[in-house]
Symmetry: C2
Subunit: 257 residues, 2 copies
C-alpha cells in the first residue's frame, strides 16, 4: 500500500519508519524544511519534498502529521492539488475532523496515536492506542487494517470522545509532569534530587494498572489529616504558587471522597 507522509516531526519521524518496517510503501515525505524531510525519507526509501505542489497523486493514504495549527491549511492545499477523493487523515488529538471536511476533502479521517513522542526515543508502537475515525465505513475499515499492522490497541473514537481523551491526556501527562517539576524544585532547595522519588513515582503508576486511582488514593488529603496538611502548607509559604496547588488539589481529593 502506497502512503504519503506529510510532516517529519517527532511523530512523523517514528511513524514513517514504522510504516516502512511493516511493509508500507512510503512514496514521499513532506516537510517545510527539506533537511527534515530528507532525514526521514533517506531511512525509508521515500522521496523528500518541501513543497506540496510536488505531492504525488499515486498514494492510497495521505497522513497529515504536522502541528495542529497547520493541519487545516495543509488540508486546503491537498484539496487544491486535486486530492479531494483520496483518503486523507490527520494524527492530532486536538483537531476536529470537520477541519478536513471544511477544507474540501471528501474522504477524511483521524489516525491518532495516543502517546507523546520524542525524536531520541523509539516508541513501542504495538502498545500505543490508535484512535481511529473516518467519515465513511469502508475507509474506517481500511484505517483499522492499517493500524492493526502497527499496533495491537485499536479504537474507533468519535470526535467528541477524542476531545475528552485530549483533555484527560493533559491531566495525566502535562499536569503530572508539572507536579514532578514542583517536587524537583522543592527537593533542590534541600540539596536533594528527584531520583529519590522515582521508585515512588513508578509505584504510583504501577498501582493504577491493577486498580482504579480512586481506590488507590492515599495521603493526608484523603484521610482528612489536617495536622499534616497545615504543616505542609506552612512549609510551602515561600512558594505561594505551589501552596495554592497544594490547597486546590487537597480540596479536590476531599471532594472526591
Amino acid at each position: 500500500m502506497k502512503v504519503v507522509l506529510i510532516g517529519a516531526g517527532n511523530l512523523g519521524f517514528h511513524l514513517g519508519q514504522k510504516l516502512y518496517a511493516v511493509g508500507f510503501d512510503v512514496l514521499q515525505v513532506y516537510s517545510r524544511k527539506i533537511a527534515n524531510a530528507n532525514n526521514l525519507a533517506d531511512r525509508i526509501g521515500a522521496k523528500a519534498i518541501s513543497s506540496l505542489h510536488k505531492i504525488s497523486s499515486e498514494a492510497e493514504l495521505y497522513i497529515i502529521a504536522v502541528q495542529d495549527n497547520a493541519i487545516k491549511e495543509v488540508a486546503f492545499q491537498l484539496a487544491k492539488f486535486s486530492l479531494n477523493d483520496k483518503l486523507i487523515v490527520h494524527t492530532s488529538g486536538a483537531t476536529h475532523s470537520d477541519d478536513l471536511r471544511e477544507a474540501g476533502l471528501n474522504r477524511y479521517g483521524v489516525f491518532y496515536p495516543l502517546q507523546t513522542f520524542s525524536k531520541s526515543k523509539t516508541p513501542d508502537f504495538e502498545t500505543i492506542p490508535f484512535c481511529l475515525f473516518a467519515n465513511n465505513i469502508s475507509d474506517l475499515k481500511l484505517l483499522k487494517q492499517i493500524a492493526s499492522k502497527i499496533s495491537n490497541s485499536i479504537f474507533e473514537i468519535s470526535d467528541e470522545q477524542r476531545a475528552t481523551l485530549h483533555v484527560a491526556a493533559v491531566f495525566v501527562n502535562n499536569f503530572s509532569n508539572h507536579l514532578y517539576h514542583v517536587a524537583e524544585q522543592l527537593l533542590n532547595t534541600k540539596e536533594l534530587g528527584l531520583d529519590l522519588l522515582l521508585p515512588l513515582i513508578q509505584e504510583t503508576v504501577d498501582k493504577i494498572k491493577v486498580a482504579s486511582p480512586h481506590e488507590m488514593q492515599t495521603g493526608p488529603a484523603i484521610r482528612m489529616d489536617d495536622k499534616t496538611i497545615q504543616e505542609h502548607l506552612i512549609m510551602l509559604e515561600n512558594y505561594p504558587s505551589y501552596q495554592q496547588l497544594y490547597q486546590l488539589l487537597t480540596k479536590s481529593i476531599q471532594e472526591s471522597r
Copy 2:
C-alpha cells in the same frame, strides 16, 4: 541481630518478612490486634504480642512502624518499659525525630523507606530509598549497615530534608494519583476507560528517568496555546472543580517557563 517490630500494617508486614529473609532475628511482632501480629509473626518465626508491657528487652533494634499519630505514644510506652537506652527508630516520613527524644528515649533515629506499600504487593526493597537518621554517629553507622542488607539505595537525611521529601512525595504520589482519577472520571462520561491513557502515563514517567521534568514539559500550557486551553476550559464547564485545577496547573506551568 535481634529486632523487635512494633506494627504489622502494610509496611511492617513487608519489612518484617524482608528482615527475616536477609537473616535478622525478629523476636517479636507487636500489633494492637493480635490476629495481625500473628499473621506476620507466624511467617517469620517471631512471637506475636498485642500489649507493649510484654515487649522483650533482648533486642538491639526496635522498629516503630505504626500510624504517624500513634508513634509518640508508642515511644512513651517504650521509655516507660525501660528501653530508654535501646536504639529505637520510627519509619515515618512525616514525623519529627524530636518526638522520640521528647518521649524520653536516649538513642533514637529514623528508618524511612520512601515508598508506598500495599499488603497485596511484595515491594522490591532493593530499589527503595532508605532515608536514615540517628541522634548519634555510631547508631547512624549501625542503621546504614542494617539498611544496606535490605536496599541498595541508602541516604542520610536530616529531619528538615525528610519533611521536604514528604511534601514532595505528596505532590508526585497523592496528587498525581488524583489527576489520574480526574482523567478517569472525564473518560467515563464518554464511555472510555483509563486503560487508553496507561501507555501515555507510563511514558510520562519513563521520560523523567532520563531528563528533568522541566525539560520534558509539553502541552498547551507551556506552548501558550490559548485556543486549546480555552476549548478545554469550555469542555470542563460541567466540572467546576476540575476546571479550577486545569486553570491553576496551567498558570503554574506558564510561570515555570
